[in-house]
């Protein structure tokens, strides 16, 4: 596609519900990143994939968060048993080469609200 596509754009979940957020990176982009952005804050790193390999997941806040990219293209961020503190915008970014030493393209984000 022309850019990084994320879906859904908005998600309201009841506390305790599981959610899955999807990221379609730019075709051919090797690296994919997930970030969490709370209101009024900068994005916080969650996890990083190079192709299908998850090279860094140090930013995932708890074992309720799980990300995958099984075929090295589309990625899914799953949050189990959502809590109110999970409410945030989840941003996905992709880059052509192996890392960020090149331009990184961000999607529009998924705004998750846990009620």
């Amino acid at each position: 596609g022309a850019g990084v596509s994320q879906s859904p754009r908005y998600k309201v979940a009841k506390r305790g519900q599981d959610v899955a957020l999807r990221c379609d990176p730019i075709s051919g982009h090797v690296s994919l990143f997930w970030y969490q952005q709370a209101l009024g804050q900068g994005p916080e790193f969650l996890t990083y994939f190079q192709n299908e390999a998850q090279l860094d997941k140090s930013g995932l806040p708890s074992d309720r968060f799980f990300a995958e990219r099984p075929e090295g293209s589309v990625s899914t961020l799953k949050i189990q048993r959502t809590q109110q503190e999970d409410s945030a915008v989840y941003l996905c970014a992709s880059t052509k080469l192996g890392a960020f030493n090149t331009e990184a393209f961000f999607g529009q984000g998924t705004r998750l609200t846990v009620v």
Binding site: Q41, P43, D56, T102
Partner: protein
């Protein structure tokens, strides 16, 4: 992120005036990125700096990385309403480029 401080937190500038945003790190930067974000939207890439002393310009926006690679500034000349938004600096603080630290952002308002 406490490792990356952005200032000011917000600023109001009259159309046609210049503005400067600073981004300071407590660690040496392997790379520094400037992004712009409008409320509720994704990040738009502006510029990337890697080398100490590097300076890049695009239209009316200039970004610099100091020689020690611990501070960057973003300067907008003759601001326009289209320059309004949130400016974020993001930095690679290790040679593992996959993990960027972002500042909290600077909200820019341009008044007529």
């Amino acid at each position: 992120s406490q490792e990356l401080e952005q200032s000011p937190q917000s600023l109001i500038v009259q159309e046609g005036k210049n503005l400067t945003i600073n981004c300071t790190s407590s660690k040496t930067l392997y790379g520094l990125y400037w992004y712009k974000q409008k409320y509720g939207e994704g990040l738009i890439f502006l510029m990337m700096l890697q080398k100490g002393g590097e300076e890049k310009s695009h239209e009316k926006i200039t970004a610099k990385l100091d020689e020690k690679k611990q501070q960057s500034s973003l300067h907008i000349t003759a601001s326009q309403p289209s320059h309004a938004g949130i400016y974020l600096c993001g930095a690679a603080l290790t040679d593992s480029w996959g993990k960027l630290q972002f500042g909290a952002g600077t909200q820019v308002v341009v008044t007529p």
